[in-house]
């Protein structure tokens, strides 16, 4: 099925919760199959939509390839790249949440692959997936504060007593006029 058909099929089922199909501008010369065509799904219907995507006879997206978290300074997005091993078609779905309340239903009960993938999105971007059976940090230590891949992330000055920056040693060389107070590391 083409991405247009997939989007139309979901629109008939879920109505306004499905956004319009956005086709990546024609910069490259790929075959239409590899266009990254995506549409948004509202978090309110995401859980049902996920099940529909997986179990509907025409769609049968049994392979969740990748879950990516995005941050474009305004909102957070979770991008789901889906692939059907049976029908051999693919689609990309985006679910957008606000920065104040980054909660959305989890797709983990539908695709087990989302278990670790969503944990990573939570870890690095702070999107909270409700209904996930075990949402905790996967790549960073459990007591890390902050979500690094956000655009407004400021690295904490120290972690468990270890400084994350060090002073610039260049200033200590004789004859150097470098300002020793400029630290190395941290956020510049």
């Amino acid at each position: 099925m083409t991405p247009q058909d997939i989007q139309a099929r979901l629109k008939t089922k879920f109505g306004d919760a499905i956004g319009d199909l956005v086709i990546t501008p024609d910069a490259a010369k790929p075959t239409p199959k590899y266009y990254e065509n995506f549409f948004t799904i509202s978090p309110k219907v995401w859980r049902e939509a996920a099940e529909y995507l997986k179990f509907d006879r025409e769609l049968l997206f049994d392979g969740l390839m990748c879950v990516t978290g995005l941050d474009d300074k305004v909102k957070l997005t979770a991008v789901y790249n889906l692939y059907s091993y049976i029908h051999r078609h693919r689609i990309t779905v985006k679910v957008e949440v606000t920065r104040d309340e980054p909660k959305m239903p989890s797709a983990q009960p539908v695709w087990m692959h989302a278990d670790w993938m969503e944990r990573e999105a939570y870890d690095l971007l702070g999107i909270v997936f409700e209904g996930h059976r075990d949402l905790r940090r996967v790549l960073l230590p459990e007591d890390w504060i902050g979500h690094p891949l956000r655009k407004d992330y400021v690295e904490p000055a120290e972690y468990r007593g270890i400084m994350t920056w060090r002073e610039n040693l260049l200033g200590k060389l004789p004859g150097e006029s470098y300002d020793p107070k400029t630290p190395i590391g941290g956020n510049q």
Binding site: P25, A27, K29, Y34, E36, G63, M65
Partner: protein, 374 residues
């Protein structure tokens, strides 16, 4: 006697430093000494925030970072990223470069499988197949050193082509390596693959059927071992793979159950044979009249858009999700690796098996830690 024997559960830490977790991974096991009741993997010891770095460096400068994502199949990681950037920026790759990419990609796959299969044998206790595998890998390392100067992390495949052309005599040496290596695979098989003790250790351990594999996102030889013949080189072909002729080996449940550790091991060994076929064809079909890289602007600024491209790396599907907003840095670089997904299957598969079997499972899923943590 009606009272049951009181046994205590101990929490074992198969810690970050351990000879047979392939890299720095930690498993927290609840066992009674031998049988595992619960296995929780704890990753993140090798997290280098490569994805955040991807937002700070330019598009071509990111290639050395992709090397370190999967250092055993470094060529394939470079290639996956280059495919994604080329699709974003609309770069067309000359034919000679495509064939050179195929040659080094498949040779890289051979080296990765040599270590993967050899490390599995080493963890099971046989030290010799590993050293034989390393010995053969040295040949490929020498070939790679001649073409790009490095032995482990190559940074050879760039968006637009490959970094250097093949030096004179290189192709003949590649063909000579293929002739040298093919009987060695049979020797490897004769030594370890059908060894009775080896088979008994691996047959029927951690059976993962196709449905579970797809649900948990397993890819590559892990998925093919359950009998499902899916290979990105054949089903979603990229580069010049449509012109090459090769088989896709799947697990057949020859000894034990379909989808067990032995099938994954055998899949990798068979894939090496197929890669040799591909390398021979590519060497023969290598065109001499096109360049080895395309003309790409120094400051590459792909137009706005996003792309998710996946290619068949040694560990399965390596996918790059890149978003560009027209500048020279990417907005988001997301790397999807096969080992990360394979970690998710441990709590399900490791229940009820012995610690020795857990070692076999870790090695048979061919996990490299940097792929998990990036």
């Amino acid at each position: 006697m009606t009272t049951a024997l009181k046994t205590e559960e101990i929490t074992l830490n198969m810690g970050p430093q351990h000879p047979s977790t392939h890299g720095v991974i930690r498993f927290i096991l609840k066992t009674d000494g031998e049988i595992i009741y619960e296995c929780v993997p704890d990753v993140g010891y090798l997290h280098r925030s490569i994805e955040k770095i991807g937002e700070k460096v330019e598009w071509q400068s990111f290639i050395p970072y992709t090397d370190r994502v999967d250092y055993l199949a470094s060529m394939n990681s470079n290639w996956a990223y280059s495919l994604a950037v080329e699709r974003l920026a609309g770069i067309e790759v000359p034919r000679r470069a495509e064939f050179l990419r195929v040659i080094v990609g498949e040779l890289g796959r051979i080296t990765s499988h040599l270590i993967g299969a050899g490390a599995l044998a080493l963890d099971i206790g046989a030290a010799t197949p590993f050293t034989h595998a390393i010995r053969d890998r040295e040949m490929v390392n020498d070939l790679f050193e001649r073409i790009c100067g490095a032995r482990l992390t190559f940074s050879f495949v760039y968006p637009g082509g490959v970094a250097y052309d093949a030096p004179p005599g290189w192709i003949e040496d590649v063909l000579e390596f293929c002739d040298y290596f093919e009987p060695r695979i049979e020797q490897f098989n004769a030594l370890i693959t059908y060894n009775k003790i080896f088979v008994k250790r691996l047959a029927g351990v951690a059976v993962i059927d196709t449905e579970t594999a797809i649900d948990y996102g397993l890819v590559g030889p892990n998925l093919r071992a359950s009998g499902f013949r899916f290979d990105l080189r054949r089903d979603e072909p990229y580069s010049v793979y449509p012109e090459l002729d090769f088989d896709v080996p799947v697990g057949r449940g020859e000894v034990g159950v379909l989808g067990d550790c032995w099938d994954r091991f055998k899949c990798r060994v068979d894939e090496m044979k197929e890669s040799l076929k591909i390398v021979r064809q590519a060497c023969r079909m290598l065109p001499t009249d096109s360049a080895h890289k395309a003309k790409v602007k120094k400051i590459l600024k792909p137009p706005k858009g996003e792309v998710y491209v996946r290619s068949e790396s040694a560990r399965g599907e390596m996918g790059f999700y890149l978003i560009s907003d027209g500048t020279q840095n990417s907005v988001r670089t997301k790397i999807r690796t096969g080992s990360f997904s394979a970690m998710g299957v441990f709590p399900k598969v490791a229940r009820g098996m012995m610690i020795a079997d857990l070692i076999a499972v870790i090695a048979s899923l061919d996990i490299v830690a940097p792929e998990i943590d990036r």
